[in-house]
Point group: C2
Chain length 127, copies 2
Amino acid sequence: MTLNLSPDSRVPIFEQIERYWIYRIAAGDPAAGERIPSVRDMAQRILVHPNTIVHAYGELEQAGIIVARRGIGMEVTAEAPRICREKREELLANRVRELFAEAEQAGITRVDLVRLVRDVMNQMGAE
Amino acid sequence: MTLNLSPDSRVPIFEQIERYWIYRIAAGDPAAGERIPSVRDMAQRILVHPNTIVHAYGELEQAGIIVARRGIGMEVTAEAPRICREKREELLANRVRELFAEAEQAGITRVDLVRLVRDVMNQMGAE
DNA sequence: ATCAGTGTGCTAGGATTCTGGTACACGGAG
DNA sequence: CTCCGTGTACCAGAATCCTAGCACACTGAT
């Protein structure tokens, strides 16, 4: 799973970074007690200003997902896996809700929406 | 079909207005040759600054959906219905693609995604 | 003690979006 | 012609996001 930044996306970069770690921790890769890359390290990896990383990490810390250890790094908390799995569900559910809302405003019936979903799925390949 | 503005949404207000008319024209309500509300009238209706309406209408005009008639108003072009139906499909298809992309990044299998879609659908009621 | 690496705090500027206000040009009704 | 409603053009400010740079405080290894 790689972080693929979209600078032109409407979701801010700091939030793309935030989601990236939420999804990774939810998947169990950086487990509780382990650390995620330092602010400067992460900034250099993805070619983003350190302040943007600080912003993203600040959100994760406020959510209780990581804890800052001065001189050490950012450590994944014990509750992080549970929190991240919850947030993952919430994020995707919101996406689905947005899709339904858009379809409703567009006057598209659910049948046509299902057909559209199938078309897109086929178009993306059976991956 | 009512314009329900979301000022806190990530999609700019001018683009919400633009989509609103695309969906309405695609549905055939303001037919070709008819007019949509003037800049000032629309601004007063939805309590938004006229400049924001100008921005939205400018996008519609550049897409060939409306044509500005000075002293008269904004008139729906003959090609507008076709253009708007195409754009409607494109907008929704993009939403679906975004959902799949997000699910993939989150490490969610398609089976679980389908289950999530059903849950949200049931939660929204059988409307 | 010294040093490198870490998180933290601050100020500043550019880009985009929206709001606010003003002025000008065009067309139809009186 | 005069007036009103129309689209158009400009300038300015607030808010958010990102970039940029700098200084400071803390931790561990040397």
